[in-house]
Amino acid sequence: MSEMWINMGPQHPMTHGLWNLRVKIDGEMVLDVDPEMGYLHRGIEKISEDRHYNEVITLMDRCCYVAGFAWEHLYILAAEQALHIRPPERAEYLRVMSDEFQRIGSHLMWYAAFVQDLGLMSPFLYGMRDRDLVLDLFQAYTGARLTYEYMRVGGVRNDVPPGFTDRARKVLDWLDDRYREYDALCMGSTIFRERCDDLGILKANDCVAHGVTGPMLRAAGVRRDLRKDRPYAVYKQIDFDVAQADAADVTARYLVRMEEMRQSNRILRQVLDWLDHHPGPMMADNLPRWLGAPYAPIGNEGYLLKRSYPKGTGFSAVEEPHGEACAYVVNEGALHPYRVKFRSPVFSNISAARQYLVGYHVADIPPIMGSVDVCVGEVDR
């Protein structure tokens, strides 16, 4: 067979979303790759400029469909900074709880998709089954399983229902056992190690050069986690370790994500204990009327109310399950943000595809891309 280009995507089992990886192959060898994004562009940043601050939250859930809470949190942090609002502490704890459950949910989704790429059938369903428990928890306190619209500028929508923390602890106990099971199925399998060791290597300096962040960066031996390095919300008060591995290959990324799930369990136990003993308000008490949840005033009334409110800009950076996401919100004195800009970690991570795909086999593309954990919703926004 001579050299040829094949399109892996936009409709292909490997992509886990709507994007196209053009691959130049010679037989089974990958000679060149060319990632093409943009199939899922919905103009979320532009739409945000026409929406009330609280209405943007709806769009954030759609940014990444497996990590809605992380993106809500990202936007909320920037918006609160732009609007000079401080949320109450209990709301911050509830946000961290949502974030960490979301991290577990997202990583379980990644686990399911990743092992499926390797041809492992059963762990796919195990991962989805256990993610369902996390989604059930979300449903218990937000009413939704995927698009929550739970966080608000100035706090969160509502408190967790009675008995929620005990139920959540039961889920954590169950998950602790399951992590061991996952490890036995993957790290205990010779074929898994044969497939994943020394595969898709992206060294630390390449990661930095291409702006690759998150588990991929930590798997390359860099101990960087925004929750530690630039603590937001209440992460400063919480005791946890940053997962890290040195091999920079697919196995290392697997190990990092597994360790992150364990650390999330650890964080969640502390957060749940805090929530049990510290009742308090859900929303900041000095919120301006035009921002009051859940009903925002419409039309002139809002503009009149807002005229005297100070302008400002807000920047936030959040350790999303896929990497470091950033947001920039400009408040120019209207009911809606003047400009919203996001940085998607996955966009950078798959833009570096040439660095970690070329030179391997065609059969290696799915596990490598699986280890990147692609979420196309946030790539295109």
């Binding site: 067979m1 040829m4 094949i6 892996m8 292909h12 089992p13 490997m14 037989g27 089974e28 092992v115 499926q116 790429d117 390797l118 041809g119 492992l120 059938m121 059963s122 796919f124 369903l125 195990y126 089954r129 199925l185 399998s189 074929i191 898994f192 044969e194 497939r195 086999h361 065609v362 059969a363 290696d364 593309i365 799915p366 596990p367």
Partner: protein, 375 residues
């Protein structure tokens, strides 16, 4: 039991049918009850019975896999059509039957249609030559084992033909992989079989089964069994060796462009080959339709006992394949070749030497003696 064979049953049926017709229409009674006419009809009925049995077993096998896989994955498998989902596969089959057959614009028509047909037909022939019990035995071919393996190894050719004529890059890569895979498993499979042949002194599957009356061959030839099962997994293109249709990177591999009944052909033939693979394991290593001598004779003396035990063993062996599928990831082409040549072939050679030693010694302390080895 031994008196009623599949052929004698078919012959009796043919004679009955023709005599009934002759009784209804007396003028043609003499010509159609001629022994030649009866024989021709008997052969046709014989073939129809084989076909029905193979299709029925294949569909049952798919059900068995779906249920087992479901349980391994913590779900229930097919549940709703028929008792415990037994008829689900028939429903799926009818659905595929009703679908339009799509042919890509630039596909080569001859190859596109002849590939799946030949794949299906060779797989069916395979089922026809295998003995299932002392009665279910389409002639005692002296070289039936060799014939079975020869027909078995046709498949990559037809896969390659249909892949190439689909005019799809993914199909072509799947076909290439299928051809490469054949190089990896064909030699170990033959070497593993050689040790059985040495121990039993025959290429006839029926003889091999009867040679296992003192002990089943899996005991002394456990290494050969492991090699044979592993190579069979590659031959049947099942996980962990389903590289030609690795859905993660090749969409559906060589059958990407096939839909409707042509896809059903591939699907049925795949499972038919899986059935034949399990049957070969049972025949070569697990004593075929016989049971160990210490089992009370009541267990083997009722009608169709041979077929029952045989099918039980076959489905258990296939259950093992399903278990493997549920718990192992897929290997890569170069890794499969490496395993085939660096691991399986030496192990199979070791087993050949072991078999030769066993034949020389004739009797093994734990297992007993080979009835007529080397004689």
């Amino acid at each position: 039991m031994s008196s009623a064979t599949l052929y004698s049953v078919s012959y009796a049926l043919a004679a009955l049918i023709l005599n009934v017709i002759g009784f209804i229409i007396p003028p043609i009674r003499a010509p159609i009850t001629n022994v030649d006419v009866v024989t021709v009809l008997a052969v046709l009925i014989f073939g129809a019975l084989l076909l029905a049995a193979s299709m029925l077993n294949t569909i049952l096998l798919i059900w068995w896999e779906r249920k087992l896989l479901g349980r391994f994955m913590d779900r229930r498998g097919a549940m709703h059509v028929g008792f415990a989902g037994l008829l689900q596969n028939f429903a799926d089959g009818f659905k595929l039957f009703r679908k339009n057959t799509f042919q890509p614009a630039e596909a080569d028509t001859l190859g596109f249609y002849s590939g799946p047909t030949a794949y299906m037909v060779t797989s069916m022939i395979l089922f026809g030559i295998l003995p299932i019990s002392s009665g279910w035995n389409s002639g005692s071919l002296p070289l039936s084992l060799l014939l079975a393996l020869a027909i078995f190894s046709f498949a990559p050719l037809f896969i390659f033909v249909s892949a190439w004529s689909s005019n799809n890059k993914y199909s072509l890569m799947g076909g290439m992989r299928s051809a490469a895979q054949m190089i990896a498993y064909e030699v170990p499979i033959l070497l593993a079989v050689v040790s059985v042949v040495i121990l039993s002194g025959s290429f006839s599957l029926t003889t091999i089964v009867y040679e296992q009356q003192n002990y089943w061959f899996w005991g002394p030839l456990v290494v050969a069994l492991i090699v044979f099962v592993a190579a069979m997994l590659a031959e049947m293109e099942r996980i962990p060796f389903d590289l030609p249709e690795a859905e993660a990177e090749l969409v559906e591999g060589w059958n990407t462009e096939y839909g409707g009944m042509l896809f059903a052909f591939f699907m049925l033939a795949d499972y038919l080959r899986a059935l034949v693979g399990s049957i070969l394991v049972v025949l070569l290593f697990l004593g075929g339709w016989t049971l160990p001598t210490w089992v009370p004779s009541a267990a083997t003396s009722f009608p169709l006992a041979g077929i029952l035990w045989f099918m039980l063993k076959t489905y258990l062996v296939f259950g093992l394949f399903v278990w493997v599928r549920a718990s192992l990831p897929r290997v890569r082409t170069d890794q499969l070749l490496r395993v085939g040549w660096n691991r399986m072939i030496p192990l199979a050679l070791l087993s050949v030497f072991l078999a030769a030693a066993l034949v020389t010694v004739r009797c093994v302390p734990v297992f007993g003696c080979v009835p007529s080895a080397g004689a």
